[in-house]
Subunit: 429 residues, 2 copies
């Protein structure tokens, strides 16, 4: 039995590693089109800011680790150009054909480059190790005083912060009225004000139509989202979902027998809306890769879906969101209501700082639909509690009574989550 | 209608404030035996360490705030010596009688002083503002080179750390084999090793039988737990529970009509065991006080109980526990199993540090029973996620798939909670 995995990053290597654990006798071959496997894409902004000194630090394992320690064959610079399900073969650019019994497609995504001028030499994306290397070299080799970042998703925010940390004047352009794709005016205001203090001017509602060679920005970073790499799958007859990404069931099976998909090329189930969502994130790539690998090797595991937890850590402000914003909830058809509170993140006599919590609920059922937390400290933990509550469909009454940790240096006696929950109870009366 | 509240700290003032919100016309009188109300008992160790400069910082509100802003009459130095439920009166030490229509008993707790010698001049407890003032003065006025702290509960740990921070050689004695009353050998080892690095030697399994005036320690701090102040209630015919604290229902009603109790003098329901527990903590005092006050003023609110979340923040190590330890679970009759993992608390290329997670589950149902987290960062958030899962009786399968926040500076792609949950799934197979 041979398992072929297309793609050697988070999802692909998770699939290969998990398949190996499930079945020690399986032949496993990973085909990676690039030069490296198993590197940490989420670390790229921190290389740009200099907090990560060398790109080598972002490479978690080299191919020989997988060969020697895991008995997984890894072929880099091996681009697959076709999948032929009838023959159970993949075709490589070289013309070589490789048979498979089970296939995991983990082809990932690519940065969206729909703006004319995207190929100009001063325009970058931050998607690969090579992108990061080129961008840092570019900055080091010439005086870059002004930069434009296009797109205020989490990568755009991280890149803007990283460039500003290096002393560059940054303007961040966003076509939508809000950041992080949430259409949340209050969250947006907090982030915009904070970025201004870090040296990043944000221009919302500003769609960049075209990029010119003589723009005032010496450096432009495109961060307008990613598009799933689905062409290989689609041409092989694999179904795509409503979002345009590969459709899989909760076992990560595509519509073709023996063919699984995972990572940034698939859509997943949103546990709050019950509908499909395309939300390519490192955690989901690892989790879906793991499940795809397990099932490809003969186990029976499932990935239930996501609640959409995303977090961005800027200098001095962390922003966490999960579930639906008020606007997203209304758009999804919920009779949604939200509350917003500002509270102290620990006891006032130990230097507390303000943190903000927004909670969104369904007026009809009283159930939680989502939340957002911003602050300097404790944001990840608080957003995770909301994520757990969403996953459990916890009644608001129970959420408002949670026995949360209290100690003066880390949390106030009334945790901001509980303060927000009490306000939400009032709003639902 | 007059509401009388006995006790002006966390529970009592929460009750009074909440009652005022529920019923603006109620007459509310708080009787506090001490000189101050509404001060933050949990801040005392941080005054001892010097992180809180003045005890004034720990006083959240003075009596005139409640009088003027909340229309709550506050009488300090007003000790109640008897409750006469037949007449609906309380009797003060002065002989004065005060009638009530509704009564909230928030008499709190007192430090246990069962060891002979507890009244020696170099022996202290840390329970009141006056205790803290006296202890800091004592340390400032003479060379204290060696101190003994008796009891390794959270107050003992915090006091030992605070004294060591001031350069004092501290020995911490604990009669039980483990810290924090959990009987958890691994957690205990981690805490003991860490305290040694902070200058605190821990002697477990060491019961102090008596305190002598000529001991090598120039300062002794008793931190052997607290006992609920129930005499006033018991003499009035109010029922106590199995734990020795006042028994209340989920509306904070005692067995006497119109008489409520809240805070450190009551026992609460443990949501994991389903039995009563005496766990006096600031959060529970505030929550039960709030519910007692609401119901005393005519609302209908309830307090469901606790899962036992406790957290201690030492220099360089935070320890969080919730639910039951393995030993506690077995003692409570569960067929319990536990796993323990060490994982990185964020991405390795951003200076991650080890964090440890223990999870305890019921072999029969597969349900979570408890957990412990230790580490430098992110402990409060992670213990809160376990607390939320315990409250929701979340299946382990769901817990292991939680969509937790991932960003390299704050959390690794596989959160330590998920790593532990996957190990626990294996242990339950």
């Amino acid at each position: 039995m041979r398992l072929v995995v297309i793609g050697g990053l988070a999802a692909g290597m998770s699939a290969a590693a998990r398949a190996r654990r499930v079945d020690p006798s399986l032949e496993i071959i990973v085909l990676e089109k690039g030069a490296h496997v198993s590197w940490a894409a989420c670390g790229l902004p921190f290389y740009l800011s200099g907090r990560v000194k060398s790109l080598e630090e972002l490479i978690l394992h080299k191919p020989d680790y997988f060969e020697r320690q895991r008995n997984i064959r890894v072929r880099t610079n091996a681009q697959v150009t076709a999948i032929e399900p009838a023959r159970r073969q993949v075709v490589l650019r070289s013309g070589e054909r490789l048979a498979y019994d089970r296939l995991v497609i983990a082809t990932g995504a690519r940065p969206s480059k729909r703006i004319p001028g995207s190929e100009l030499p001063h325009v970058f994306t931050l998607h690969t190790l090579e992108d990061a290397r080129r961008m840092r070299e570019y900055i080091e080799q010439r005086p870059v005083r002004k930069a434009a970042v296009i797109g205020a998703g989490y990568i755009g925010l991280e890149v803007a912060d990283a460039l500003a940390e290096g002393g560059i004047q940054v303007t961040l352009f966003e076509a939508a009225p809000g950041v992080l794709g949430r259409n949340d005016p209050r969250l947006t205001r907090r982030v915009v004000e904070h970025l201004a203090r870090l040296g990043v001017q944000v221009q919302l509602n500003t769609r960049i139509e075209t990029l010119a060679p003589d723009s005032p920005a010496e450096l432009v970073v495109l961060a307008t989202g990613v598009e799933p790499n689905v062409e290989l799958a689609a041409e092989a007859g694999i179904e795509l979902g409503r979002t345009g990404a590969i459709r899989v069931n909760d076992r990560m099976e595509t519509n073709l027998a023996g063919v699984f998909a995972a990572g940034d090329c698939i859509e997943t189930l949103h546990l709050v809306t019950g509908g499909p969502i395309y939300l390519p994130l490192g955690t989901t790539a690892n989790k879906t890769g793991r499940v795809a690998g397990a099932n490809a090797a003969g186990a029976r595991e499932r990935f239930p879906g996501v609640v959409g937890t995303t977090i961005v850590s800027l200098r001095g402000l962390t922003i966490g969101v999960t579930g639906l914003s008020l606007a997203q909830a209304r758009q999804a058809g919920f009779d949604a209501v939200s509350v917003h509170i500002e509270a102290q993140d620990r006891s006032p006599y130990l230097g507390s700082r303000p943190t903000e919590v927004e909670l969104v609920a369904d007026r009809r059922t009283g159930g939680l639909l989502g939340g957002a937390v911003t602050g300097e400290q404790g944001v990840a933990g608080r957003i995770n509690v909301i994520a757990a509550a969403l996953t459990a469909a916890m009644p608001l009454e129970q959420f408002a009574q949670l026995d949360l940790a209290y100690t003066p240096p880390l949390a106030p006696v009334w945790d901001p989550l509980l303060v927000a929950a009490h306000e939400l109870k009032k709003a639902l009366l």
